[in-house]
Symmetry: C4
Subunit: 231 residues, 4 copies
């Protein structure tokens, strides 16, 4: 079976989303990429999670052409492929409609870095894209969704691995990482961070975030050459 290990990793990332309560029914999808072969493994569309097996995963090239698989890929495929083409350091993408991250996306609000939990994973605010124009919605909508993410990161000079998630305005979050495990992990932490940001902002509405010094301290504790966290 083509890309057997990657299929298993992508399946496990999908199931992690279910286990952590981030998806309802068939909402949500995860994918991973084999950069050497330029092939993407993605969840099929609308299949129950408890029936998903590695062989159900769909394999496409970087432009979404199906290379292997009998099922239709996730309807969000074109967002995934664009992220892989534009963010060359990422190895996996996850999309959920998790409750609190989606609520911020619906509100059109970025999630400001309000504490160290956030800073341990996201080096600055998790941004929210600009709303799509009607033409973009009526046109190549799923592709345009990816463009809105990519454009925001490029215009603001954000490293996708330093802030491995983005809220799509009026829609829901995308998260990513070096591999499928990390992408799912980031999506789970994003939801926890969003929940605490919701609580914090409903207690103190004008909070804008922690200091740059705290962001630096926590982010570099877990990332980069000087990281000290874990074994």
């Amino acid at each position: 079976m083509l890309l057997k290990d990657l299929r298993t990793e992508v399946l496990e990332a999908n199931l992690e989303l279910v286990k952590r309560g981030l998806v309802l029914y068939t909402f949500g999808n995860a994918s991973g990429i084999d950069r050497d072969q330029g092939l993407i493994v993605i969840k099929p569309s609308g299949v129950d999670y408890d029936q998903l097996r590695p062989e159900h995963m769909v394999v496409t090239d970087l432009h979404g052409t199906i290379v292997d698989g009998n099922l239709k890929p996730s309807s969000d495929l074109d967002t995934h492929t664009l992220l892989y083409r534009e963010f060359l350091t990422i190895g996996a993408v996850v999309h959920t409609h998790s409750e609190f991250a989606t609520s911020f996306a619906q509100a059109g609000l970025a999630i400001p870095p309000l504490g160290t939990t956030h800073a341990d994973y996201f080096y600055g605010a998790v941004p929210c894209t600009a709303p799509l124009h009607d033409e973009a919605i009526a046109g190549r909508y799923v592709h345009e969704t990816g463009l809105a993410i990519v454009n925001h990161f490029k215009q603001h000079g954000i490293d996708p691995l330093a802030v491995p998630a983005c809220l799509v305005n009026g829609h829901a979050p995308f998260a990513w990482g070096r591999n499928a495990h990390d992408a799912a992990h980031n999506a789970v932490v994003l939801e926890a961070v969003a929940k605490m940001a919701y609580n914090t902002l409903t207690l103190v509405s004008n909070h804008t975030g922690v200091s740059q010094a705290l962001l630096d301290r926590h982010y570099f504790r877990k990332h980069g050459a000087a990281a000290t966290y874990g074994q």
Copy 2:
């Protein structure tokens, strides 16, 4: 046993409500209709969910006269029968007191379409009925509850399958669908949508909803001849 398959489907819809945390104790009820025979299968009143069996379901005609069954039907029967008589395309009705949808009903507020999760299922706001007059409450109350729903949909020209749910003012939601599975599914998604709407509106109180273009895009992605979602 009369309508054996429909009894099983209606029972499964009732149990899905329990599994998803939408009902407490014996709150909530689901029914389904056999349009050919003009017969309705509905949950009995006040029976514990873990004791419910297909043979406990009550069969009535379209005006609520019991055709088969020894137990009393759900006390909300007259709302169900009216919805079946007036909304000819629906095949099942579900009623719950699920937490967030009920909170909007208690607030007398429609749930505006704040994002794509909503738009995937409800083509516009999930409306809230006008409060009942005292005479309606003291009179044929359960029937009047159905009338309030039907009148709202007719006056606003809403297709019941395009917006398969309604909040009853000061009471709780009703949802429906082509069959019992869909009706329960819609009730579950309604609760998720209501929860995220609550979060969104408590972050940004003056949000009125996404664009018509986004509503169109998401709704028609899942519904109608051009639907592309799922297998």
Copy 3:
């Protein structure tokens, strides 16, 4: 064993509170009364719920004198006994620190009847007592807690079976009923009603409650000679 059946009923009521998520650790307690013998069965203080057996229950008379049992009774005993002495129609009392009912008690706010879920169980607002004076707190505090409840009901002419719960200001709820099963059931529904009232009031802060007609309709549907709910 003295009062074997009542011990079992009281134990089951205590465990129902755990099952429904109303108590943390050893918080909360339930009791029941045998009116013929004038004897009360109550949970012992500070014993883990998973170790509770019928023989651990403490039996006291109506003034709290221990008649049977080696363990100390719940520290809230004097509130229970006063409620039994003053509310002659009740057969059981339950006390929890359930999250949302306690939050209203801490806010010093009654829970207004905002919808039919409330009206099905509580015929009007669930009241909140006046704060205790410092002398009452420093004196017979647990007894004074009961007095605050009883005084509120007497001064406002509320039938304890029509509104089978009260919030103690700055403390938490007490609920009761004809028997231990009903008292625990009322405590569970109170928490659900409090949660939805919280949501409703944070959406629409000036909501004062549903009409008297709706209160009448729902309350009498489930209570009294003309009740139509259930089998």
Copy 4:
């Protein structure tokens, strides 16, 4: 094995945090001290909770020098050791990013004593430290975190066993107790108290807390020579 019993107690305290939903992934850590030997047992950094065994615990002296163990200790070690050096009556320390306590820490708000649940465990507000200066963050950050806690308690004359928890500004809570069981218990109750304080303050924003008389009554009911709670 050195300090076998303490290792087991500390492990159990760590697992209690998981069981009660206070930690996500490898967030959170607990430690305990053997005062006679001057040795601290602490959770290793970044190890999955379901793989933790007593032999994985790390033993250090009061200044954080590792005495026994092959794994790296929790990255929060220097906060733990400082608390043990300065708060001589405590026997264990717990750190979590539990949702509501962390939300108050992010908001920079103390948790005021809004009811008896709080008063049973915390004799006054659970304080929130002042934000750290950039130099402290860039310097001995984990040590400075402990200093911020200790300085607050000393400046305000708070007995660490009377208020066995503190919120670190922009970070999360620390809790402690006479032993590992008590420290974990206090962390769990702190989260419940924080959740109810959140609800209370979003209902009544200007609430400042219960009376000193109520604080006294409840605190001394459970603590000190005149305690009457439990067996």
